[in-house]
Amino acid sequence: MEVKELERVAAQIRRDVVRMVYEAQSGHPGGALGATDILVALYFAHMRHNPSTFSAAGLGEDVFILSNGHICAAWYAVLARRGYFPMAELSTFRRIDSRLQGHPATKEGLPGVRVATGSLGQGLSVGIGIALGKKLTRDPYKVYVMIGDGEANEGQIWEAALFASHHRVDNLIVIMDRNYKQIDGDTREVLNTDPMEDKWKAFGWEVVSLKEPHHFPSILETLQEATARCEKGKPVIIIAYTTMGKGVDFMENDHRWHGKPPNSHEYERALRQLPCTLADY
């Protein structure tokens, strides 16, 4: 897909996210808006996958796991617009009897989701297990796992980092949504994880920086670079310096938008900044 078209999709996904969270009057808009461009690049340009034949095992295709499950509004919108399930279902987000749970789940059978995430730190380990499974079955496709930077407070992330390096899980690309924000504030104030890149290097990972994570040519180039570094004995991580709340000026870089919906006034203000580029769900 052309960059112009990716931009149109991303703009619409952002609008979807704000509408979903507003209509549900709950959810996590900040991180979802910040990760939108990367998710769009993965699902609409980079990953090799087939929405119409989705299976949990994901044999013969690239697999994506959203470990920071709370930003699922953006992921759901991407999955729906990429054809995994009907777009109309986005209106059921966080409502009773929906497949679109507040955090991703498999129980209701939503296509695209392979494991429940939400309690942080767990999705990376699962992604590593899938990557090992791909090696055991000689499946040459890759596993992509998105994690949050606040999520890196969890000890399990570092257990997983040790394990993937030790076992040379080199068919794995982790993308860290590094927006320096978590619920209680700036990551450097809540629990400092700097220097982030050095930590992963010290754990034996290939580290790639994505300085412009809202610019599609940069995202795609970085994803290609990360892919090129695979299969060389090391797991790969992209540290993506995203802007939380990207696209809605009053949400940008404000940790208070981690997990609250806009009120009606804020909603109108947000929608004025988010043009309808495709069609609303």
Partner: protein, 320 residues
């Protein structure tokens, strides 16, 4: 004429797991195994040697191990994760809950060194709350076999069971008294080992042998008490339990677990729901254990045949 169970050669239940795992893996190439720096203690080393490409050493990092297992299960493999009961449950409860049970992953959690009989390492390692933790999880099957032979069979059965299984067994050498092949062993069904007219002892794990000895002791005193092996603590065999509750109102439970949330609660749940009975519990009485030899601990914390026999007598007295 009542069966006389004899010890055909004491062995540890964890070795039954090791043998069962190897056998299951020889039959089914989908079986993989993960260890957290306790592969030899949990008896996974034979598997690791035979199938190195299907064995994953995770180091002392149990949370990640559970997640990696969930990922392998996503790919259609049948992972057995092995560690001590404490680290297989309490330490990773949230991982078992979200990545395995809620996600519906076919992972088998093999938990060794459960209970007081872990012995000298003391209370930090003596897991006595695990049955409660695991049976509270939707979709989890909980199995606690009674001896070496049954642990082997339970491992084979777990490999074929669809869905997550918590398989609980222990460290020390204990009497081995069930047959090598045992068609009466089925996950989800109680096993009637001894018939009896005046009462019933429901027992699980290491306490089944103690319950048999208690029944024989009572027999010498002219009291006939049945012994039912509740090796599957979830799903509960309601029908099999109610059948015995209907026959008698002398009901005793015996388990190497806290008095709360284990077999005593399970039998009480069935009794209060289907067939009201008093239930007398033999279990660890809401306390932590301590260092000591397994038999010393069982004696001190009230988990021997004579404690069970006393509980039966108490139940008979209360009935009068």
């Amino acid at each position: 004429m009542r069966v006389r169970f004899v010890d055909t050669g004491s062995k540890d239940t964890r070795s039954g797991f090791g043998v069962g795992l190897l056998e299951a893996a020889q039959k089914n190439p989908k079986i993989v195994a993960l260890a957290a720096d306790l592969a030899s203690s949990v008896k996974m080393d034979a598997f690791a040697q035979k199938f190195p490409e299907r064995f994953f050493q995770c180091g002392v990092a149990e949370a990640n191990m559970i997640g990696v297992a969930a990922g392998l299960a996503t790919m259609g493999f049948i992972p057995f994760v092995g560690t001590f009961a404490n680290f297989a449950t309490g330490r990773v409860y949230d991982q078992v809950r979200q990545s395995i049970c809620y996600s519906g992953k076919n992972v088998k959690i093999a938990a060794s060194h459960a209970g007081l009989t872990l012995g000298e390492d003391g209370a930090t390692h003596q897991m006595l709350e695990d049955i409660g933790l695991m049976r509270g999880l939707p979709g989890m099957t909980v199995v606690c076999p009674c001896d070496y032979n049954q642990t082997r069979l339970a491992t084979l059965a777990a490999a074929e069971w669809e869905g997550p299984v918590y398989l609980r067994f222990g460290r020390p050498v204990m009497p081995n008294f069930t047959p090598t092949e045992d068609p009466s062993f089925k996950i989800g069904k109680v096993q009637v080992l001894l018939e009896g007219k005046e009462g019933v002892i429901f027992a699980t794990g290491h306490m089944v042998w103690q319950a048999l000895q208690a029944s024989y002791m009572l027999e010498e005193q002219g009291v006939s008490v049945a012994v039912v092996n509740v090796h599957t603590l979830k799903p509960i065999d309601v029908e099999g339990i109610v059948e015995w509750l209907e026959r008698t109102n002398v009901v005793v439970t015996a388990e190497e677990h806290q008095i709360y949330n284990g077999l005593g609660d399970i039998i009480s749940y069935v009794a209060t729901s289907y067939c009201p009975r008093y239930v007398v519990r033999v279990a660890v009485k809401d306390t932590f254990g301590e260092s000591g030899k397994p038999h010393e601990l069982m004696e001190k914390y009230g988990l021997t045949a004579s404690h069970i026999a006393s509980a039966v007598k108490y139940a008979i007295e209360r009935k009068k």
